[in-house]
Assembly symmetry: C2
Homo-oligomer: 118 residues x 2
Amino acid sequence: MTTKEIADAFTALCKAGKFEEAGAEFWADDVVSLEPMTGDMAIARGRAAVEAKGAWWYANHEIHKVEVEGPFPHGDQFAVIFAMEVTPKGGQRMAMREIGLYTLKDGKIVEERFFYGG
Amino acid sequence: MTTKEIADAFTALCKAGKFEEAGAEFWADDVVSLEPMTGDMAIARGRAAVEAKGAWWYANHEIHKVEVEGPFPHGDQFAVIFAMEVTPKGGQRMAMREIGLYTLKDGKIVEERFFYGG
């Protein structure tokens, strides 16, 4: 599959709200997930850690709406824009806009790197 | 300056329509500019080549509108979303959405990499 084919398939799953399925299908076993922060959440290494990060996110945020735009491919990478409305547990409802930058190797996502606006 | 400070200053110039000034202030002398295509325009190496690419773009496109969103920082990188309406010389007016991913070193942009949706 080309970058565009993988990017289209991954993004289509995200647009259908199937984020975990998108990861299950396309994450490499040694995928690395990078957040723009310090501390324990900054980097998750390996599929089990990345899945645990996702599970933590879903357990600690009520997700009201996610809009997904893209993909935006370039070489072995593609970007996706996410617009979300979420309420963190015990917090206020908020709007977030985020870019996910995905790097492929051998048809799998080996790195996902998130950028936040604001 | 931090990544966020540089990203904010660069993006503020872009939001003011001052794209060439943004480059003049923040491009490193050895900046590399990467487009998701093959051929001569795929890579421009060095400030003179990147400036020439910009001059070519402005000479060959009528720009009706540019909306700039961001920045979205992460580590030594930041992303900016551009929404444009342009008419290529001899062509049809079209809407484009593009993500620019900028990599900093020593306070200057050493790489800009563009991602197109569609």
